[in-house]
């Protein structure tokens, strides 16, 4: 938190920003990792809301489901599902990098595409399971 030691009012040179680079999948995955992480913070609040609604008995849970079943609620839930799938898969990619694996440029590009495709596949599969009646197996 050191303040700028330079004289105030003098324009400082800036490093090139997002808008100047050609988009690459590695860059997209990195940005999406942060974005999905932030989205999942809202997901944590919804998790707390869901648990509280269950603890409030049937009426409490119904009030949660009223929101969750709305078209917007379904879209948000799909967003959380995909965010978790992406953050999970890309998180594994990051942990592999931390261990020194897969940091080669071409491998990082390939795993970037893989993680993106996999995350959508997982999210769509989850919703397909629910809509085809294959979920709810804990009843």
């Amino acid at each position: 938190m050191a303040d700028n030691p330079q004289k105030p009012g003098r324009a400082r040179p800036l490093s090139p920003h997002l808008t100047i680079w050609r988009w690459q999948v590695t860059m997209l995955a990195s940005i999406m990792h942060r974005a999905t992480g932030m989205a999942l913070s809202a997901g944590a609040v919804v998790l707390a809301w869901w648990l509280v609604s269950i603890s409030n008995g049937p009426e409490g849970y119904d009030s949660f489901m009223a929101y969750a079943a709305m078209p917007l609620g379904v879209i948000v839930l799909f967003g959380f599902t995909w965010s978790l799938a992406f953050h999970f898969c890309n998180g594994v990619r990051h942990l592999a990098w931390d261990l020194g694996y897969g940091f080669d440029k071409h491998i990082a590009t390939r795993t970037g595409f893989l993680v993106l495709a996999l995350s959508f596949l997982i999210a769509i599969a989850c919703f397909a399971l629910v809509w085809t009646g294959h979920a709810g197996y804990l009843q």
């Binding site: 944590a44 269950i54 049937p58 594994v92 009843q139």
Partner: protein, 125 residues
């Protein structure tokens, strides 16, 4: 004149006061969240479309309650570590930065407290 002992110099990690602590905690929580998230996904799919009675029954069982508590605590801790990095990266005004960092910690504690209280309440019905 420097009053710092050699040990303090070695341990003194500059303005961050923490060295690799944050990095390490982020990784440890990430690894813990791998199995916990898989379990969470399994439970969410398994409870989707069922009713409140089923959910109370499932979450009232000790192992399920403990795993859900572990998922809530670990993911929210991981969340506060991640949001701290976002704030460190983008917020440069000292006052706003401290305010947001405290807000994130307070929100994290609140979310965990609410989750745990709800789980205890579910288990004691």
């Amino acid at each position: 004149m420097n009053s710092q002992t050699p040990l303090h110099k070695v341990q003194g990690m500059g303005a961050s006061h923490s060295g690799t602590g944050h990095f390490w905690r982020e990784r440890v929580t990430a690894v813990a969240l791998l199995p916990l998230s898989l379990w969470f996904g399994f439970v969410m799919l398994g409870l989707a479309g069922t009713n409140e009675v089923t959910m109370v029954q499932y979450l009232a069982s000790p192992w399920n309650a403990l795993l859900m508590a572990a998922f809530a605590v670990t993911s929210v801790y991981h969340m506060s570590l991640g949001l701290q990095v976002v704030i460190d990266d983008y917020v440069h005004a000292a006052g706003t930065k401290v305010f947001l960092l405290v807000l994130v910690r307070a929100a994290a504690i609140a979310i965990v407290a609410v989750c745990l209280f709800a789980l205890i309440r579910i288990a004691s019905v």
